[in-house]
Symmetry: C2
Subunit: 364 residues, 2 copies
């Protein structure tokens, strides 16, 4: 076997080697090997390299796949790593190692940490972001909220993934108003807050929305790969040169809500979405309304930023739980190359601008 993609699976089964062998065959040939032609056996069959038994825990199986199985494409890499076996309990993708030749062919982030810092004019400190919500507000109400928060100095004002094309604030009505509001705030304060609308339209509509957002003067877009597909991040980047691409985890949770199947959160929210083209990747932070652990969250941060061939590091974006009180703990844990999402906290007290100012101050 020449160059390989290496996948590590946590296997919960009585006979982990037998199960791992099934996985390697399922994910490559999907056919009993005695039926495969000799050339396919030599070229394209996955092989179990090792099994590590662990006392009181599931075994770890390391499987090598010939790199050509991915065909140089992200979509097929995902099919290869977990496509069919995603349907099975007892198999969890916990690590992946990809040769530089394949990494070079995948989209990867365009801005990464440095590009986003440049865009928001913040070379050093942690980045702060909020979501415009709730859905149901008029475009004027949303724009007013965006103005307050940008005036308060938050770096990134993004739309909530609940906003789409609802009658209360349709995309083409809302986006220009928010662009104007954030600009006005920046002009008044001398700041450089950026605005990211959410893009989740149907296939052709998706492209139109990204183009519209760019033409109107937004600074990038937020994309939902769990709904729009893993290619949607790179597609948005292609249509929005220089724009920031923020990934939102909506509808991706099937992969991370259980410990015995799916994908380890650092592999999904860190590595795979980085390869797919996210500049920042939102995930549920610990201490919020969701269920990842501190350890899992910090592993996402490592995966997002660790050296990986020539790929730019990206920003982990823990959602939920940031507050003035928790700022020292979270800054200490994640470090400054992080986007901290603040939700309801800014709206409590009725003065989002003042709340934003205080939070910015607390994270310096």
């Amino acid at each position: 076997m020449t160059e390989v993609i290496t996948a590590v699976y946590e296997i919960t089964a009585e006979d982990p080697l037998s199960r791992a062998t099934d996985v390697a065959v399922e994910q490559s040939h999907e056919l009993p090997t005695e039926l495969a032609p000799q050339n396919a056996i030599e070229l394209s069959l996955g092989l179990v390299r090792s099994i590590e038994q662990r006392a009181g825990r599931s075994a770890l199986a390391t499987v090598d796949y010939p790199v050509d199985l991915a065909g140089g494409e992200l979509g097929q890499l995902l099919v290869l790593l977990l496509g069919n076996v995603s349907l099975q309990d007892g198999v969890r993708l916990v690590d992946v190692e990809i040769p530089a030749s394949l990494l070079a062919a995948l989209p990867g982030p365009r801005l990464g940490v440095a590009g986003v810092r440049e865009l928001v004019g913040e070379p050093r400190h942690a980045l702060l972001a909020t979501a415009l919500k709730p859905v149901g507000m008029s475009s004027e109400q949303i724009a007013q909220l965006a103005y307050e928060i940008a005036a308060g100095g938050l770096h990134i004002v993004k739309e909530d993934q609940g906003l789409a094309n609802q009658p209360w604030a349709p995309f083409v009505d809302r986006v220009p108003r928010i662009v104007e509001a954030v600009r006005r705030a920046n002009t008044e304060t001398g700041g450089r807050s950026v605005y990211l609308p959410v893009v989740n339209g149907p296939a052709a509509g998706f492209d139109d929305q990204v183009r519209f957002a760019r033409a109107q003067g937004a600074d990038g877009v937020m994309v939902l790969p769990g709904v729009a597909g893993f290619g949607s991040l790179a597609r948005a980047a292609e249509l929005f040169p220089g724009g920031m691409i923020l990934s939102h985890p909506s509808f991706l949770g099937g992969f991370t809500a259980s410990a015995t199947h799916g994908i380890a959160p650092d592999v999904l929210f860190g590595t795979l979405l980085r390869l797919a083209g996210a500049d920042a990747s939102i995930f549920p932070g610990w201490g919020g309304r969701f269920s990842l652990t501190r350890e899992q969250c910090l592993a996402i941060g490592d995966a997002a930023r660790r050296p990986l061939a020539g790929l730019a590091p990206i920003l982990p974006a823990p959602g939920g739980g940031m507050s003035i009180e928790r700022a020292p703990e979270l800054l200490d844990a994640f470090g400054p190359d992080t986007v901290f999402l603040i939700g309801a906290g800014l709206q409590r007290g009725g003065d989002p601008r003042r709340a934003a100012e205080r939070l910015v101050a607390a994270t310096r």
Copy 2:
């Protein structure tokens, strides 16, 4: 509240009402209600309509969402039904009811059962399909296998989801050869087998592949919504008028591999993919290598075909387990409006054509 989308969740929690209320708020406002403006509370807040406690089982919570929250779009409907709470364990989407006004705005199937039967020239009997595999074969080898199987009378010859753009059989090299092989078989036998290549290229490449497949004379395409996004089915249908759109479950399994989160298989593989535009929806049949139960599989069949406003019924496509021995049992369980997938079974014995002929005869 006027028209509503109704979602039923299975809630595994100590206080199901409290948890269900959290879900209703999370999936609509994503903001504590005391912070929401009055107009949003009136227009766009999800409400728990009822909780049904069940002895020894998880409770059922019925939640009503104002229909406008979906903004008339499939992608946003998915965000609404399970977007954020997909990340949480203890919440499982088990039923959904959608007003006719929204159904009319969603893609839905173009061919459905009747259109596919017309395409393959099979008005009555169960439909049989196979996957061309393993990956690693040359285009010539794959085309030869396609020829044998089409000559044997199988209705649908589709590519395995493992085939992409690998060097051994690149898409543009492989597709025309297989089109030719299946045509030749049809000419010789007077049959009407159809050929569906798999389309999984990156965003712009996806469109190009669908157009290429159509231009070369394929009969439709197989699409992987778990990778390419839920909009990819309708996108393919738009680019391939009259073509059959077959959905493959690769990378969708996070939603169905656990009993305490995600989406019930009939809702995902039946209802939601039907709304998204699949003419046939592949899922792991019972008795194969995967883990859905007989009851879950038959529920998928019901969801795929039950009357639903003006939407055409679609074909459930259980994968794995079909054989001459099991044909009577499976035909009896699913009925004829079904696509039965046969994998390795056809290749065992070394004469795929004869195996196909025998299987076709056994299902008449």
